[in-house]
Symmetry: C2
Subunit: 510 residues, 2 copies
């Protein structure tokens, strides 16, 4: 290996991290600014010159790679395969499904020409007016239309079903107000698109993928979620039902972390996709689609991190363990290296990513701050006195607790510690989420909770889009979901007083 | 697992494969048509409705996933990290590097508007003339400009170097004549972009990545390549030097399988990227870029496959082994299943992907044809008589040889056989490539070889772009590369008779 990439980590810019860490605002001071600065200072992402488009930097992208790997395996374990469909959607496709075009055709990137040419006045390159497309192409905001147009060719008989396909891709939605990861014009995502012979099977698939997302959020992201159904007003344009997972951020605002749609026969009808059943009768195909995006990186940060930087769950951390030698001279460093490197090698053999930060250009305190900013779950420190005692110091990022560990116990202690960190982060987020979920009986109470405590408000609602819209207008809170485990109970809508059969979750949201 | 995806493999369409396989033209009949049909019939890819854009179907995409995994590991093992940069390039960026704009700005997808609206006459959605972009955006044909514009922010000091970044992405070049995988308007690729403090280091990186591509082509694709440098006329627009790997297809035409560019300081100057050295002096940064694309899937097919379908090297085959039970009734099938499944489980434990094709809707002969079309390297057949003997029949796709193997030897025989298949395919391609490489001394001889035998022609050339252009015009052969291992020898240009110091490789190419 002739090179070691220093962009990914351990950037040597003088005093970069000390200076930067100091400039990180606290969450209580300005949560929004804390997030923006943390994303930049932890080298996760930055704005590009193209409005609304971000550059995902190597450290941020490595978190996405971890997410992709875990999700991809879960998709494959449930029988799905990956494929790739075109970036461009002919304008007329979007118009085929009435609600879909209303939802997606409005703010989008439109390709109208296919050639540039040199300006005659020598001023540079200009769009060649002779190279105008007959039909404009839209950069995909989502791929239902392109995919169902393809499925028409793939499906004739019930024997061709189900089709269980996923795509990892970039999509573009021309957002006016953007924030790194949370809302960007271009983002990366996966979109599953499945086709089925029966409504029952499609609904089962929709809910299965919602479960996959829930498992991923809880077990990998250490982020508890409520699973539920969207109201009519919040569902995906073109879907019959939209299901979602909703998470709680540290500022008391909710974040939609994944959606799974039962499309009914809507896209099959729009693209005339029929199959002949066992009885030979033609019927429209039933569909689902489901997706999560790079927005999850934003959720991960907002859910767990603190005023000193990122807190990453070990299952998604690009680096699990960093070791910092405490030394005054070359001799001490080489004595420390000789003892620590076999320990690090043992940890690597267990599948952990381990860095030995032996830079002599920075003091340990500087390195510690840097590793905290980057959210490395476990830090080892080892100095000459440790060598004498045959020990090392192990610090965990989440609780900042330190313990002294025997060198020969490190290979068992540290993996166990990482497991404990994963659980502790989840538990902390769960307690917070539960504490931030409040049952209210009146509209006044609801407003008080939203204004003072924040979080989810569990309240009765009369089921009308009218009431939903009025509450949103007055409180800025939206119905996040109708929880799947909501119990039947007689109640009255907090707003209209009309009868209600179950509580729904309201919140102000990202 | 509630579902088994049948799209990926084992499509149940009645007589689909028998009918299809019969329609596959032979290579000698029509090589070009054979390729086109094979890509479609083996379920690798198909044309979409958007001109020049393809749908990569699950089976084709799974080959790409295998390629990605192997390459990504090689990139990371050489110190690179992944990142993601925006899809859109502002028009003015392309114009910053003079040669680059000539090469890429011409045929491209141009985004001019960011909104659609409902037509006032109710005829559908139209482009909103009020939503015209101030500066047009180009869908990236390659990302040098966007990335160097970003590197300007990342690089101040020699301590920030090197930067070793790779991106997996889609790109768009508005090709007029397209062919699945080989030349499409949108394709998938990886593009490495590195920044260095010295020219020496950048050249070393350029050549290192060329070696990575060579290793990948030879060890994974089983495809021998010549490594060399492009002539001035064939190099990447904006590069100082372009290096490439060139492979030979079965019809005697060459295919460029990967390129690695030494960019000198061209993009650093275009985007004003300077760094302060150890001596405090400002200097422009040195760059490289390198890429391979989904075109490699086309190369893989053209290099190895035969008139009955795909021949895939085991290291890139989505399925390594398929087992076909030969049975007349349920009882026989269950007896066979009971014996074969532990064997298949053993193979899976070794990391192989194994399918048991126990469909009762198709005859073994049909299945065999289907597995051959799909290029599954090893096929197991097992019937009642095998059970009596404790054996199974193992057939290899590459040579079609069959052998009878004891059931308890399968878990050792089959992995060894897969290794042998990988080697045999490579050896066959190497012998073919060598046989198709001809040294010529005269232009007449060169034309004869090109017309009658095809392949690479090793000939002296005077080094001028003029001669290169004339030869191309007259013979349709281009200089594929100046081989890195070309020996210094005194010679005369086959065309002009002027002195030449070394031979170069000419060929008609994809």
């Amino acid at each position: 290996m002739p090179y070691i990439c220093r962009e990914f980590f351990f950037q040597n810019k003088s005093n970069y991290y000390t200076r930067m860490a100091k400039e990180l605002p606290s969450r209580s001071e300005d949560y929004s600014q804390w997030y923006n600065e943390l994303v930049k200072k932890a080298d996760l992402a930055e704005h590009s010159d193209v409005r609304g488009c971000m550059v995902i930097k190597p450290y941020g992208f490595s978190i996405w790679e971890k997410m992709q790997a875990a999700l991809d395996k879960m998709f494959k374990d449930t029988g799905h395969v990956n494929a790739y469909f075109p970036l461009f959607v002919p304008k007329s496709y979007l118009a085929r499904e009435a609600e879909h075009v209303e939802g997606f055709a409005k703010e989008c990137a439109v390709v109208t020409h296919y050639r540039l040419k040199n300006a005659e006045d020598g001023s540079g390159v200009i769009v060649d007016p002779d190279a105008k497309l007959e039909e404009e192409l839209i950069v995909r905001p989502t791929s239902e239309t392109v995919i169902w147009n393809t499925y028409k060719k793939w499906i004739q008989s019930y024997r061709d079903l189900p089709i269980l396909v996923n795509q990892w891709a970039n999509v573009v939605r021309w957002e006016m107000r953007t924030r790194l990861f949370l809302r960007t014009a271009e983002f990366l995502w996966q979109e599953g698109h499945t086709a089925h012979a029966t409504a029952e099977e499609a609904v089962k698939e929709t809910l299965q993928m919602l479960d996959v997302y829930e498992t991923f959020a809880q077990e990998y992201m250490a982020m508890p979620v409520y699973k539920g159904k969207k109201s009519e007003g919040e569902k995906f344009p073109g879907a019959v039902d939209t299901y979602c997972i909703e998470a709680m951020m540290q500022d008391g605002r909710a974040l939609q972390a994944g959606t799974s749609h039962f499309l009914g026969q809507n896209f099959a009808k729009a693209f005339d996709v029929q199959f002949s059943g066992k009885d030979g009768k033609l019927e429209y195909v039933w569909g689902t689609s489901w997706g999560v995006s790079t927005r999850l990186i934003g959720a991960l940060i907002l859910a767990h991190s603190d005023d000193d930087g990122l807190i990453l769950p070990p299952k998604l951390a690009p680096i699990h363990v960093v070791a910092v030698p405490i030394f005054r001279n070359e001799e001490e460093l080489s004595a420390i290296s000789a003892r620590i490197e076999p320990v690090l090698a043992d940890l690597r053999r267990l599948g952990l990513t381990v860095k030995f930060d032996d830079r002599d250009t920075h003091k340990p305190g500087f390195k510690f701050a840097e590793h905290e900013l980057k959210g490395i779950p476990v830090r080892i420190a080892i100095g000459p006195r440790d060598l004498e005692n045959g020990t090392l110091e192990v610090a965990r990022r989440d609780t900042r607790e330190k313990q002294v560990v025997k060198l020969d116990a490190a290979a068992t202690t540290i993996p166990a510690l990482l497991e404990d960190i994963q659980k502790t982060i989840y538990k902390r987020a769960l307690d917070f989420r539960n504490q931030k979920t409040t049952r209210v009986e009146t509209y006044k109470e609801m407003i008080e909770v939203l204004d003072q405590k924040g979080g989810f408000v569990s309240a009765h609602w009369d089921g009308t889009m009218e009431t939903e819209a009025l509450i949103k207008e007055e409180t800025k809170a939206t119905i996040r979901c109708i929880p799947l485990d909501a119990q039947e109970e007689e109640g009255k809508c907090v707003y209209s007083g009309k009868p209600s059969k179950r509580r729904v979750l309201f919140a102000r949201a990202y």
